[in-house]
């Protein structure tokens, strides 16, 4: 079980709990979509799993060597080329120069960007930048990949393609992925399992399995999307007063 969250809670200094009693277990190689409205503490939860923040209650079990992280903005370094951005992740891991070049080349090829390695971030489109960011996250070579709404800022066509791309990369690399989103169809499209977080405080209120049947039958996927949306709206409505 690469990730195990037990009664996890997080309260900041100002009092109101952000996360309360979060329970979840995520298996090796699993692709889990974490869904929730604003204020559900999704990002806080990812930060805790990544070890960037400490929980104030409960316990968690994560891979000892930490997790790779992908953000909503690609956060590539503008003074480095695409290839150098990927190589930096390898340098910081202590990988030697020759292997660094080779691995960075392979990873860029994996995200179909072998021709753009010499370009700088500002010369790349938003989708290309996110693919470089994905290659950089993979260069960290950690079994667990955390993704914080990585495609939220992209246009619909690009996002659609990157869904295919991410699914393929996931299948090829066998990573465990926790994918945070507030887009229900994205969650159903990508996740094997969808966890719904409530807002203020964040807590896992329901989960759905997305089966192979859902992937091949759009009608069934639509039903599931509808059911999840209804539950999500119910959660949001609770905050009307």
């Amino acid at each position: 079980m690469p990730v195990l969250l037990e009664n996890l809670g997080k309260t900041f200094d100002d009092g109101a709990p952000v996360l309360e009693d979060v329970n979840a277990s995520i298996g090796a190689g699993e692709f889990v979509a974490l869904l929730g409205a604003s204020g559900c503490g999704k990002s806080t939860l990812l930060n805790i799993i990544a070890g960037l923040e400490a929980p104030t209650a409960g316990a968690l079990e994560v891979p000892s060597d930490g997790a790779a992280f992908m953000f909503q903005d690609a956060a590539l370094f503008p003074w480095l080329t695409a290839r150098e951005n990927v190589e930096l992740a390898l340098t910081l891991r202590g990988v030697g120069k020759a292997e660094r070049r080779r691995t960075a080349g392979e990873l860029l090829d994996l995200v179909h960007l072998s021709g753009a390695g010499g370009k700088r971030p500002h010369e790349l489109s938003g989708g290309m930048r996110q693919r470089v960011a994905l290659a950089r996250a993979l260069a960290q070579d950690r079994p667990l990949l955390l993704m914080d709404e990585p495609f939220a800022a992209l246009d619909a066509i690009t996002r659609d393609l990157l869904h295919d791309e991410l699914e393929r990369v996931w299948q090829e690399t066998g990573r465990t992925i926790i994918f945070v989103t507030h887009n229900v169809s994205e969650a159903v499209r990508l996740g094997q399992r969808v966890l719904l977080l409530s807002s203020r405080p964040g807590r896992v209120v329901q989960e759905w399995q997305v089966t192979e049947e859902h992937r091949t039958n759009p009608g069934l996927a639509g039903q599931l999307t509808g059911a999840i949306t209804a539950r999500l709206r119910e959660e949001i409505r609770r905050h009307a007063h």
Binding site: G66, F69, R120, H122, M128, Q140, L161, E165
Partner: protein, 317 residues
């Protein structure tokens, strides 16, 4: 699997899911195969990437400043022609040009420029070597910054000429006096530039750095320093300006002893001889060197830096 590049949509659909022909027949979402996905992405990438522009020599960059200079010289000459002031108090451009020629002829000009430039450059380089590690340390270690930050900002406001009397008492009329004053002028501005460069780094960069597992030192040298480079370069430019100004002030005030003969000394000599052409020639030389260093050293570096980061588009540079 041979896929013909971008065939008609109805031909592409079956090729997209060859492993599931039965489900492909149904109306459903098309999951492209790997090769197909690669082509789709390549197409989208080329649609979304900006086309590369070819750089041309823009003559207005050269002609406009030259024209502005010509206008200023003409205005100066016109003022002299009007004869409002005595010619020895306000000499014309031609008189000053003649004096520059004379100074060149007796090799005074070359000596003064060489001495001052050499001092300015050496003082600047020493300042950079001292200020860069200090600036990084102050920017990265909060207690240090809180303790010394106000002092450094204050030193930047203090005119470095104020140090000249102290320096003369400590070091006498020697080059050490000049260098001391130059360092006191340049170091605080470089430190301040570096700190403000670090302050302007998007917080996300630090987060990415720690997610990538960078140690404190690696974070500072591989992420913070390069990220702060535009602000740091601004600090270097200002540091150079302060060194050059401080140097001139020091050279004007401290004459004699083991001091060499610099542009400031030339200016001071002009005053002693009450020769306005020498004074103006020295002022113009000091100004010209300042402009040349900006044009030949800092401007190209800055332009290269900003262009690499995509920060040049739409600017008036």
């Amino acid at each position: 699997m041979p896929t013909s590049p971008t065939a008609a949509p109805e031909a592409a659909a079956p090729a997209a899911a060859p492993e599931a022909p039965t489900s492909a027949a149904r109306e459903e979402t098309v999951r492209p195969g790997v090769e197909d996905l690669r082509q789709l992405e390549a197409g989208l990438d080329s649609l979304q990437s900006a086309a590369a522009r070819t750089a041309r020599i823009d003559w207005s960059r050269v002609l406009l400043p030259v024209a502005a200079l010509a206008v200023l010289l003409l205005a100066w000459q016109a003022y002299v022609w009007l004869g409002i002031k005595r010619r020895d108090l306000v000499p014309g451009p031609l008189d000053v040009a003649g004096q520059l020629g004379a100074l060149w002829g007796e090799a005074t000009l070359q000596q003064a420029v060489a001495t001052s430039l050499q001092r300015g450059a050496a003082g600047f380089v020493i300042s950079v070597l001292i200020a860069t590690p200090l600036g990084l340390l102050l920017a990265q270690v909060a207690p240090l910054r809180r303790a010394f930050g106000p002092l450094i900002s204050g030193l930047q406001v203090l005119p470095s000429v104020a140090w000249v009397p102290a320096a003369i008492i400590w070091f006498g009329l020697s080059d050490a006096t000049v260098y001391f004053v130059v360092l006191m002028g340049a170091i605080p501005s470089i430190i301040n530039g570096l700190i403000s460069g670090v302050d302007q780094i998007p917080p996300q960069y630090r987060r990415v750095g720690s997610v990538l597992g960078a140690s404190r030192l690696a974070l500072t040298l591989r992420i913070i320093l390069p990220a702060a480079l535009p602000g740091y370069l601004g600090g270097l430019k200002q540091g150079w300006a302060f060194s050059w100004r401080s140097l001139m002030a020091a050279e004007i005030i401290t004459v004699g002893g083991s001091m060499g003969f610099g542009l400031g000394s030339l200016l001071n000599q002009g005053r002693d001889l009450a020769d306005m052409t020498v004074v103006l020639a020295a002022i113009l030389l000091i100004l010209a060197i300042g402009i040349l260093v900006e044009l030949l050293v800092f401007a190209p570096v800055e332009k290269h830096l900003l262009r690499r980061r995509g920060l040049l588009a739409g600017s008036t540079r």
